[in-house]
Symmetry: D2
Subunit: 139 residues, 4 copies
Amino acid sequence: MTPKEVLATMLEKDEFTKWLGLKIDKIESGYCSLHFKVKKEMLNGFHSIHGGVIFSASDSALAFAANSHGSIAVALDVSITFTKPAKEGDVLYVEAKENHLGNKTALYDIQTKDSEGNLIALFKGTVYRTGKEIVKNQI
Amino acid sequence: MTPKEVLATMLEKDEFTKWLGLKIDKIESGYCSLHFKVKKEMLNGFHSIHGGVIFSASDSALAFAANSHGSIAVALDVSITFTKPAKEGDVLYVEAKENHLGNKTALYDIQTKDSEGNLIALFKGTVYRTGKEIVKNQI
Amino acid sequence: MTPKEVLATMLEKDEFTKWLGLKIDKIESGYCSLHFKVKKEMLNGFHSIHGGVIFSASDSALAFAANSHGSIAVALDVSITFTKPAKEGDVLYVEAKENHLGNKTALYDIQTKDSEGNLIALFKGTVYRTGKEIVKNQI
Amino acid sequence: MTPKEVLATMLEKDEFTKWLGLKIDKIESGYCSLHFKVKKEMLNGFHSIHGGVIFSASDSALAFAANSHGSIAVALDVSITFTKPAKEGDVLYVEAKENHLGNKTALYDIQTKDSEGNLIALFKGTVYRTGKEIVKNQI
């Protein structure tokens, strides 16, 4: 399967990515960029975007990049640093790049920026590569 | 304000916590426990709970514990390790404990477990304490 | 091999642990506690213990706890939070506990405290379990 | 003070950096690159470089980059991922880049590579900026 076919298979049943309203801009082997708009349901009690939403969009980008090689990869460890809040209506751009592709694990760097290019959060994620092939009818 | 009053003030406008369906079990100074049920909209493309949802529930527990002292605290750095997947219908229990309370920063440990006590994820979060008092009418 | 035999085998050639002057207090399956004294060579330019020394002692405790099961485990991802500085002459106590033991990975929590019980650093480490048995003559 | 003057002041008393044998290649505002040779005393029980040594060299690079602005910055949270072991005699290259410079905190990305350009470890560090000026005679 190509990275685009894997993505299509994954997106078909990914209910949370649908809820988040993620729009995929580019998918390649080991790479994914996407964007989304901050909506009211994504705010915390201080009128800022909930940190969990930024994490979730980054985690989706990680999943799409890490699974693009055609075998199932699951997030193991993630570290995220929040540098700037975002508000309702902001459009956020998320980009996942592969830093290392090993046999059993792989490492990704995911940056979230606002429309002016300010860094909102930096996400570093390690995945465990299960070795199981992604098959369209099985997931 | 007491920890309970702070929580009530935060929850009033926390749209994402509402969407997640988080039920607060206990709130004290530097402590919060809560639970929620995994619903269909929380699943990823592999029929498991999206890692972002586990992070989000943990991040909410962190926020409630860290703000319980009455001054605004914002998440700075978080590290999360995923140890076991969860499925639709599972009830997950999240517990946030304070490991260190400094003048400018504080450190929390948040565990997510399933109903049988299995560890689902371990979250370690550092917050920056802004020193701004939480006031009911201002947020 | 028992946890004590594994430890003895590992310590025999562990030059850096020797340099650090780590004294093992207790070793059990999935557990290790040790202590050491902060010496002049461990200081940074601000007369405090170098963060790398605290990390190193924690990382050694992680290695002893994670390898105690008799198969080789290597550190994959670590997150450390520094909460309080330490000075020359301080004795630091490091305790590694197993939070999760999976087939391929395991998760440990390592706390470093001073002699008054103040938290100096909190270390969360994930190891990859290679499945290779530790044999006395091979390492 | 210029970045070079700050570095000279810090190095004067940094005993652990001396022990590690770190050679500074470049220092600029928010940036530092250095290299060092893996010596016998840096090995763990498996004949590989101890993870603590890689962390320590990265942490020194972080300190030099973060303090280059002339005010004291202390490491708060660090996440490190180990991707490849190194052996005695290897020369390792460490590069610290500033990802974000805020008023109270700043964020750095530190990569360690071997002489062939293979990634050995990826280190993400957040510092707390104390606001205290670095003065030559005070440290």
